[in-house]
């Protein structure tokens, strides 16, 4: 690295870190993040008490459906006596959530089912009612075959598979040391990291853009371009802001982890904490998270994974930052930058959509190519890597990503050099192409 790049990095870093806005955002963002973590839990606890009351008018023989409906957290059922008139009920129970009307021929005609609402419709309520009634009808229909030990058959048939153990083939006869993998957990982890990268791109990429525009607006560039090459200037700015970003994120991580360990119990209060822990345990039981925890106990696996993801976060940031630098070079004001901004966000959005599809097949053709192309690879790879993909793919994709970063910085420098002297004129795409080719 040339001495000048180092100097620019140093300046960019020390100026930014000393700014009030840096200090404020460094301290406030963790508070915001903690609030985002606490609020949903609190709301969830509150939300539980908000059970919807549904009045049931059951016209089925002997009210066999209504009698089997079970009230739960989501819906509570109130079965009216046989022969209750709907019109009267509509007037009487207008303050309840709704009235469920079950037709007399429900067993043969399952469509004869109505939910009359006094309130906004709720997907969870509808799902709850539908699945309950479906179960009841299925059981009743089976009973019509009049088999001897019906109840036992039903109980026996009611099997659920929800703990498929997935293992990575270790290509050895001995099955010890095979790693457990987990689709859900891998995907969740990739999703979180992908979102983190997206966040970093938006926040710090904009800073690169602003920094390059500032250079032009303060007219420092005339002096700068007679002291260093535009490439050195661009590279210095991008790396400088990258160091700032790294520092800020590390501080945030430390603060958030520290805060959630020590402060959160105090804020939330002991009782709430217990309730939350109970809720979390309930949610996790039977899911795959326990298996995943087991997987993540392998320190070397964790370290390797972390290193790979880190390389992608850094590379992804650098590549996108260089695109922002190119845009900053081409325009004079942040307003002008807006027309190009969408161009940057498009591949990011595509990448996030592809990332969602990684769960279905982490090795599909689409996913493979998107994890090679530098525009999408940092985000898509976030989701792919935890699934365990061949090392060569990671290597190739990383090399492509970092080469693209240097290349894009070079292009940004070219645009900068020409754009510098084109004040007041908004460039067209054709102009940009000509600038890059210009000697």
């Amino acid at each position: 690295m040339s001495n000048k790049i180092g100097l620019i990095v140093e300046r960019e870093f020390s100026e930014r870190v000393r700014k009030k806005s840096f200090i404020v955002s460094t301290l406030l963002t963790p508070l915001f993040m903690i609030a985002m973590m606490v609020l949903p839990s609190v709301l969830m606890l509150k939300g539980n008490s908000d059970t919807k009351n549904v009045v049931v008018i059951d016209n089925s023989p002997n009210q066999f459906v209504g009698k089997q409906l079970t009230s739960g957290k989501t819906v509570s059922f109130n079965l009216l006596p046989e022969g209750e008139a709907l019109g009267k009920a509509r007037m009487q129970y207008k303050s309840e959530y709704g009235i469920l009307v079950i037709g007399s021929d429900i067993l043969d005609n399952p469509q004869n089912l109505q939910l009359i609402l006094n309130d906004a419709s709720s997907m969870s309520v509808e799902e709850n009612i539908q699945s309950q009634i479906q179960g009841i009808l299925r059981t009743e229909r089976l009973k019509r075959y009049d088999l001897d030990n019906m109840d036992q058959i039903l109980a026996d048939a009611n099997v659920r598979v929800n703990s498929l153990q997935t293992l990575k083939n270790n290509e050895q006869e001995d099955d010890s040391g095979m790693e457990r993998t987990s689709t859900t957990a891998s995907w969740a982890m990739g999703l979180i990291l992908g979102m983190l990268l997206y966040f970093i791109l938006i926040v710090y990429g904009q800073q690169v853009l602003q920094s390059v525009i500032d250079e032009k607006q303060t007219r420092v560039l005339d002096v700068m371009v007679t002291s260093c090459t535009p490439f050195e200037l661009m590279m210095g700015k991008i790396l400088g802001i990258a160091v700032v970003a790294a520092l800020q994120i590390v501080i945030w991580a430390v603060l958030v982890i520290g805060a959630s360990a020590f402060i959160m119990p105090l804020i939330a209060g002991q009782a709430d904490m217990e309730a939350m822990t109970a809720a979390a345990t309930a949610a996790a039981s039977g899911s795959e998270f326990t298996g995943v925890l087991a997987k993540f106990t392998s320190v070397s696996y964790l370290a390797g994974l972390f290193l790979e993801l880190l390389l992608y976060i850094v590379g992804g940031f650098l590549f996108y930052a260089s695109m922002y630098a190119a845009i900053g070079s081409a325009v004079d004001t942040p307003q002008d930058a807006a027309q190009f901004n969408g161009i940057i966000m498009m591949p990011v959005i595509v990448a996030i959509m592809v990332m969602m599809s990684v769960m279905n097949d982490p090795n599909s053709t689409l996913v493979f190519w998107c994890s090679m192309i530098p525009f999408t690879s940092p985000i898509v790879m976030m989701a792919r890597i935890p699934f365990g993909i061949p090392v060569w793919q990671v290597a190739v994709s990383l090399v492509v990503l970092y080469i693209s970063f240097v290349l894009m910085t070079w292009i940004a420098a070219r645009i900068f050099r020409v754009g510098v002297f084109m004040h007041g004129k908004k460039p067209t795409w054709k102009d940009l192409g000509a600038w890059i080719k210009m000697k």
Partner: protein, 308 residues
């Protein structure tokens, strides 16, 4: 002496607009060189060509007897017309940063800069932010950052704009001092008085052409065209007959307070002034006899209007 900078037939066209058209000039080593011209004449483009910021369409720029390269620009100190400093940065930090960008060590830069800050009365501003400086002070800071690394060639674009007369003088002294210590200075300006005072040579650019080049004294004398202003008392007729054949009258005579008359005359190029003075001295009471050397201001206006 060989010129430090030689510009040969440089042309530069921007989309549909010719900024420089076959411009040539030579800047003698150790001189103060004025680059003059109306707004939009192409001065800034020429400076950018020299600074290697703009590549000319054709023509060559020679620096120190070789074709100029990107590395040479680090031996050039450039103060652009539109001053640029990082507004939020502290003055001293910023000056050190620019000095280091141009190859000075931190220690050297800090020491040299403190000397300069003391000399230009900026010491107490070292730890202030640039945005807190007045325009004149920011200009001084910019000047210092341009010269602190002691480049061989200095280029100032409108160095005096934004300065009060006291600071203009201060800056003038500093520029002369830099020249005396061996630097070559090019500066572009509209301030013709400063050109007369400190420039050794000039080039005047108009509509992308070099229309006038050379040493300031020579240009002014030549533009004067051997005209003289004579003040006398006595008979006008006698005055006219006594110079007959030796010089020609320009315009009418003008009466002055105290019974004096003033008259402009033209003496044929290369001829001696002594016979004219001799003849006049015999016939009228000669009060003064003085060559008319036009101001750079006149020359500028006449040259730009094509009347030179």
């Amino acid at each position: 002496m060989d010129p430090i900078l030689r510009i040969e037939h440089v042309s530069k066209t921007y989309t549909g607009h010719k900024a420089l058209d076959d411009v040539s000039m030579e800047v003698p080593r150790g001189s103060i060189y004025g680059l003059l011209g109306p707004n939009g004449a192409g001065k800034t483009t020429l400076i950018r060509v020299v600074n290697h910021m703009t590549i000319p369409d054709c023509g060559k720029v020679w620096f120190e007897n070789h074709e100029i390269t990107a590395d040479d620009i680090y031996q050039i100190g450039y103060m652009p017309e539109e001053r640029g400093l990082y507004k939020k940065m502290k003055v001293g930090d910023q000056a050190v940063f620019f000095a280091r960008m141009r190859g000075m060590s931190r220690v050297d830069a800090t020491r040299k800069l403190h000397e300069w800050f003391d000399r230009l009365g900026l010491s107490e501003w070292w730890d202030k932010k640039v945005e807190d400086l007045s325009k004149g002070m920011a200009q001084k800071v910019q000047f210092i950052t341009t010269v602190v690394h002691e480049p061989k060639l200095l280029i100032f674009d409108e160095p005096f704009s934004g300065f009060d007369p006291i600071n203009q003088n201060l800056l003038k002294e500093e520029i002369l001092g830099l020249r005396d210590r061996g630097a070559t200075v090019i500066f572009s300006t509209h301030n013709m008085e400063s050109v007369e005072e400190i420039c050794d040579d000039i080039t005047l650019i108009n509509k992308s052409h070099n229309i006038l080049s050379g040493p300031v004294d020579e240009i002014r004398r030549k533009a004067g065209g051997n005209t003289f202003l004579v003040v006398y008392s006595g008979d006008t007729e006698q005055f006219n007959t006594s110079i007959d054949g030796k010089a020609t009258l320009i315009g009418d005579s003008e009466g002055l307070i105290g019974g004096y008359t003033q008259q402009k005359i033209h003496i044929a190029d290369d001829s001696d002034v002594r016979p004219v003075i001799g003849a006049l001295n015999e016939n009228v009471n000669l009060r003064s006899f003085q060559e008319i050397i036009p101001s750079m201001n006149d020359i500028f206006i006449r040259a730009v209007n094509g009347a030179l």
